[in-house]
Symmetry: C2
Subunit: 393 residues, 2 copies
Amino acid sequence: MPEKISALCSPKRFLMGAGPSMVDPRVYEGMAQPIVSHLDPFLFQVTEDIRKHLAVAFGTKNEFTLAISGTGTAGMETSITNFVSPGDKFLVFANGYFCDRICEIGRRQGANVVRFDKPWGEVASDEEARSAILRERPRVVAYVQAETSTGVFQEGKALCDAAHEVEALVISDVVTSLGCMPVEIDKTGIDIGFSCVQKGLACPPGLSPITLSPRALEILRARENDIRTFYFDLKLLDEYYKGGHRYHHTAPITMFYALREGLAVIAEEGIENRWERHRLGHRALVAGLEAMGLEMHVSDPAIRLPMLNTVRVPDGIDGTAVRARLRDEFSIEISGGFGDLASKIFRIGIMGVPAQRENILRLLEGLEVSLRAEGYATHASGTEAAEKVYASA
Amino acid sequence: MPEKISALCSPKRFLMGAGPSMVDPRVYEGMAQPIVSHLDPFLFQVTEDIRKHLAVAFGTKNEFTLAISGTGTAGMETSITNFVSPGDKFLVFANGYFCDRICEIGRRQGANVVRFDKPWGEVASDEEARSAILRERPRVVAYVQAETSTGVFQEGKALCDAAHEVEALVISDVVTSLGCMPVEIDKTGIDIGFSCVQKGLACPPGLSPITLSPRALEILRARENDIRTFYFDLKLLDEYYKGGHRYHHTAPITMFYALREGLAVIAEEGIENRWERHRLGHRALVAGLEAMGLEMHVSDPAIRLPMLNTVRVPDGIDGTAVRARLRDEFSIEISGGFGDLASKIFRIGIMGVPAQRENILRLLEGLEVSLRAEGYATHASGTEAAEKVYASA
């Protein structure tokens, strides 16, 4: 029998964890626009807008820049299945959860996966990366530019140079960096970069931006064998989004509207202003956390991600209880740690929307109250220290 | 330099083609609700609502009923890659474009694909299906319940019975039927059914509902080897959506909100009322088309899909010009044919929202004017014939 079902009403959470992050109001407005069909010329105007603006965020002149119809892990799988063939030697610089995931997808693909491991919170030095690559002479190399599980940044220029010396392609996970800090696909020498839309681009999850260097594109277009996946076959997606618009799948139109609007917001702000907003927010946040007596998990400030801050849970304090209190009393969500770092760190994201003075102060205040309630005596006021950073900026 | 970018403003099209179809206003409202994270208990309340209501539309008691984070083709690839192993004999009943796609994905998967072909617009008879299955003794059988390229319905009960006699699993593409007509997963004996959300469920594209029979689920859970795909691995998705909610990917939250609302609209209407609305709309539409002197492509009325109507383009008439006129002068979009049927048929969808008297009359009026402008003399009034059907209903 017909029934009355109350309208969806989601709880209002202020998302300052490892992602998804807050969605920009303009993005919600864009999603209310009526859909067109997946072969409508209007959709391809939208994807062209997206191509143009993604290029700025990626730091690339690559012709091939589009978004996969799946979330970030779909972009990861697409990058690997299109460029790593069964039996290929695939060298992965592993220092966190998402590096492990790259290894896992490579293994399922039948690649000969070789890991170069570093502890979670560190990165391979330029010399280590270079010597591993020259020794292994892999077909494809992968690394994570912004490790969401640890808060570590890996620049990758020396790694890419060495890879190109042995004619390897480089895949880089830029899921957490895009829209928050310079990604520099071209300057770094990344051949295949993939990302997501629910962090620095301030959209709901659902698409995975991807960009291919001219060399990767040439290899793709010259490929004669079909790869195993049809849905993620970049050759078919290239034919769908470019020129003839040959039908491949029914693109998630509304998600493309969202991404177009998320990128429009970034263009209006100016990408460099946006990066600076994150840098400043990071400085203020770290000053606040350290004033409270907390310790950053990534000891070297030079490799700390500005938008994803990992901080150690103080000894004897129940981190899960702190996060629950922060959520229940302040409606702010932050993340805990993964794997080896479970219960040892908090992960505080300021990706996109949250990287603003009032949000950072609110988070510091809520964290202070929640830590105290769980028995931690903060040393000094976190908000005061953060305000000083903003005042002197 | 920062620039001002005008807000997205999409053209208003009334979508009566092969999909996507019109989105229900309540779905747009649902998508404006703030997102939560992919591990938030609220998301799993939403996915539980979805599971419950999808079961009604699918006609199943299956425990495993969820939505894949990709569009319909992602559901097709998921079904095949999880249940067809390299080397398996995979029998496909082929009578249209999407059957060909199933074969293509099976081929890429390394299966031994065996086709049983019928002309586009016909289906294998029960006897043909049965004898092909008993002869070939495949590991997995696939057929398309509702072929979007031809407008043909294939019920599949005898096919499923024969498949189970030889212990084969049956995959069925129910992309176009779900939400528009009885799908009857359980009564028919379908082991793996996959669909989309942008047709009968009145959502924007972006998810692919999928359901597994107890036997398919048992095989899935007993599987010891990892399959090649990580993103589409149903075993991992089962762990994410059920019980422990083990992180797998960042689910497209807003699309899940959309689907929850699309299904709520169906529950409020009542699924049987909805089916009846499509049946009646189909009868009215066909009466109108035939009154105008047009011929249905599927000659046997018993296997015509109610929601996806294929009608022949009259001899000497430029179908593309007719569709363009309908779009430009009436803002109504219908589809042309695919492959062998390109330029030979119109495909008129009344999936979900459009299956209502006023829309069908508007379509018939627009089509009549457009056909006349392109030189076709309609025999009698299409709208009058359609109104009679509604009046006598």
